[in-house]
């Protein structure tokens, strides 16, 4: 591991995993943490508990802002354990000189998103630091949710399951890249940022069995599938032409040399559903406008242990690796 922290250590991919394992897990090791789920299952399996910090540039972008992200991020982590988000804390670190008007806009977004989840903020903290100490504003949210469906775990995926995605992938990452300074890209592309509990709740209410859920944030679908393959000791085989990607995301990937599978999402989740329930899960998801492209993308086998294999429509295959490094555009 490097001697100093680089931006690659926060990429949600290989370097990030290495940092977490070698520094944090090493120190904090315990039975709950080592399960590496989206949220910790505590209190005899009744509650889910999760925390996340949000730093994004620009703060406001098509489809969301840092406030909406801060609520969706933590609530979605709880939802991925089958939990209904209930109580959140909110901690903000603000740079000197930040406009109150922008702060109010961010907080209004948070309020709106909390109501969609039926959750409330019950505690908080505010710090203001000298100009240059942070990039405008950083937000941390921590949440507790009531588990509605027990037993969801990324460690239990087997050949009985199929792999699904809830919608077209990469919209958040591509939107942020398009909005970054220096890109000057005109696009109607919108972040997928949304609260996922309503979709999870519908799946639970319809009686579908769920093995695992994970929202594909930093590192994208590619990171989720690789984590699952390792955690459950399985091979995940994906059919490339079944993965929904919208034309604009594909276009940005083409221009910059990225893969949609590695781009961040903020309202897209990957599901491992028992074979017999997979089609029904797609039907339930597709009743939601944002999930109309939900698709079964692959299956679980034992062909290459702990690996993800991507099959092309012309009959070739390759490994899909965990994304590494800072996402940088290709040179030529």
């Amino acid at each position: 591991m490097n001697k100093t922290i680089t931006l690659a250590h926060g990429n949600g991919g290989a370097e990030n995993n290495e940092l977490i394992n070698k520094v944090f897990y090493k120190a904090f090791k315990n039975e709950i943490l080592s399960k590496s789920e989206d949220a910790a299952v505590i209190h005899g399996g009744e509650l889910a508990f999760s925390t996340d910090s949000f730093t994004v540039s620009p703060l406001f972008f098509n489809g969301a802002d840092i406030g909406k992200l801060a609520i969706c991020g933590t609530c979605n982590d709880l939802s991925m354990m089958g939990a209904k988000p209930k109580y959140l804390t909110c901690s903000v670190i603000i740079e000197e000189g930040f406009e109150i008007k922008s702060l109010e806009k961010i907080v209004a977004s948070m309020k709106e998103e909390l109501s969609k989840n039926g959750a409330i903020v019950v505690s908080g903290d505010t710090k203001v630091v000298p100009k240059g100490s942070v990039d405008k504003i950083f937000i941390n949210t921590t949440g507790i949710g009531e588990i509605q469906y027990k037993g969801i775990s990324s460690n239990n995926i087997s050949e009985d399951d199929l792999i699904l995605v809830s919608r077209d992938i990469g919209a958040h990452g591509a939107t942020i890249f398009a909005a970054r300074e220096g890109m000057d890209l005109e696009t109607s592309l919108k972040s997928d940022c949304t609260s996922l509990y309503p979709q999870v709740e519908a799946l639970i209410k319809s009686g579908i069995k769920i093995t695992a859920l994970r929202d594909a944030t930093r590192g994208g679908v590619s990171a989720v599938l690789n984590e699952w393959a390792k955690q459950s000791d399985i091979c995940i085989e994906i059919q490339e032409d079944k993965i929904p990607v919208c034309d604009e995301v594909n276009g940005i990937c083409e221009m910059l040399g990225f893969e949609a599978m590695s781009l961040a999402n903020e309202g897209t989740f990957v599901l491992a559903i028992p074979k017999e329930d997979a089609q029904k899960a797609i039907e339930v998801l597709q009743t939601f406008e944002e999930a109309k492209n939900a698709s079964i993308i692959g299956k679980v086998t034992q062909q290459y242990e702990k690996k993800v294999v991507l099959h092309s429509s012309w009959g070739t295959k390759r490994f899909l690796e965990t994304p590494t490094g800072e996402l940088l555009p290709r040179i030529c």
Partner: protein
């Protein structure tokens, strides 16, 4: 009706499964008529990337093999030039600007990414023209553009220099590291015990310089060249064209990428390059000095040359590669990434030892990412 051309139209048809499978069938049939194995060198890392990403070797018969060439702007950069970039970035009041992957390449001690973690202002841009905005926003600092790349990116640097001179922008200077393709291909043939039977030429280079730059290979070296695009259908069609040349006993320069490549290329871009740059010897990583394979700013523009401005601080001593790293052999086409003892173990994209593992166009990174095992 909306007649606007969308980005997707530029690649969609060139990834069509039916077409790719049809080419695979044609190549397989034609290859039965070959009397020997055909080794095709794809000169450019962009082609290596496509070949690995789309699993092209899995579609080809066993008597058609690829040799990965030296054409990756990041991989070929010798350590001393990266050390130059590092030192420049650590100078007071300097903003070092470069393109994408260059930030990750390790020099003899550190990379630009490490410099940034130590507080240096290192930025990457999508277009060199973005340097102007950075320079205007930071009038009390000097922007050093660490210019890299083949014929594809050189005209953009030339256009930036032209704008800087025209607008009399005083706080931008240049560290030029541009290289050209044909000279290094000649060097490979002349100095290496090679087994290259044909070249797959990069189309984007010929969009600028025309296909004419490869004429020497069929004429003098008796090695055919097909200038091909980067989509999987382009690559399959190019391979098919090469195979047909062999079974028809032809040795020619052909263009597969006719949608943009002409024999003469882009005259305006060529004029712009020759206005500001002159040919020079460039030390290629793994290959050593290759005469006339690099560009340098002409002397009359010395006041814009970072190598002149910072000559007192820039390191000049030569640096050897890591003793276990075989990037040099890979760039010369005499070894494959899995031949390297540290491939995928001590050398990974997360901690690259050699430059071929850094860049997404690098052969090692392509093998690691897209199927060193399948």
């Amino acid at each position: 009706m909306n007649n606007e051309l969308e980005l997707k139209d530029l690649y969609d048809g060139f990834r069509d499964a039916k077409t790719i499978k049809a080419y695979a069938k044609i190549i397989k049939e034609d290859a039965k008529l070959l009397d020997k194995d055909i080794h095709i060198m794809e000169v450019c890392g962009g082609h290596t990337h496509t070949i690995m990403k789309y699993g092209i070797p899995q579609l080809l018969p066993s008597n058609i093999k690829f040799i990965h060439g030296p054409g990756c702007p990041v991989c070929i950069m010798p350590k001393e030039r990266i050390d130059n970039a590092y030192v420049l970035s650590m100078q007071e009041n300097v903003i070092l600007v470069t393109l994408g992957d260059m930030i990750k390449v390790p020099g003899s001690k550190a990379s630009l990414q490490d410099a940034r973690a130590k507080g240096a202002d290192v930025r990457f841009v999508y277009s060199p023209m973005d340097c102007i905005k950075i320079a205007n926003e930071n009038p009390d600092k000097r922007v050093v553009f660490f210019a890299i790349g083949f014929e594809t990116t050189t005209p953009m640097t030339a256009a930036l220099i032209q704008t800087v001179i025209k607008q009399d922008i005083k706080n931008i200077c240049f560290h030029i590291n541009h290289v050209t393709v044909p000279e290094v291909m000649c060097e490979l043939i002349d100095t290496t015990d090679h087994n290259i039977d044909a070249f797959l030429g990069p189309s984007h280079v010929s969009v600028i310089s025309g296909s004419k730059i490869y004429e020497i290979f069929p004429k003098e070296y008796k090695i055919p060249v097909v200038v091909g695009g980067f989509e999987p259908v382009d690559v399959m069609q190019s391979i098919s064209m090469i195979v047909k040349q062999f079974i028809e006993k032809r040795c020619e320069l052909e263009i597969e990428y006719k949608r943009l490549v002409s024999y003469d290329g882009n005259k305006k871009a060529q004029d712009l390059m020759s206005k500001y740059f002159e040919k020079t010897t460039f030390k290629w990583r793994g290959l050593g000095n290759v005469k006339n394979s690099g560009f340098e700013l002409k002397e009359q523009f010395a006041k814009y040359n970072a190598k002149v401005i910072y000559k007192d601080v820039l390191p000049t001593q030569e640096k050897k590669d890591h003793k276990l790293c075989i990037c040099g052999d890979i760039l010369r086409g005499v070894a494959n990434p899995p031949d390297c003892t540290i491939f995928g173990t001590a050398c990974k994209p997360t901690k690259p030892v050699g430059s071929c593992m850094v860049s997404s166009e690098g052969a090692c990174a392509a093998y690691y990412k897209y199927g060193n095992l399948i």
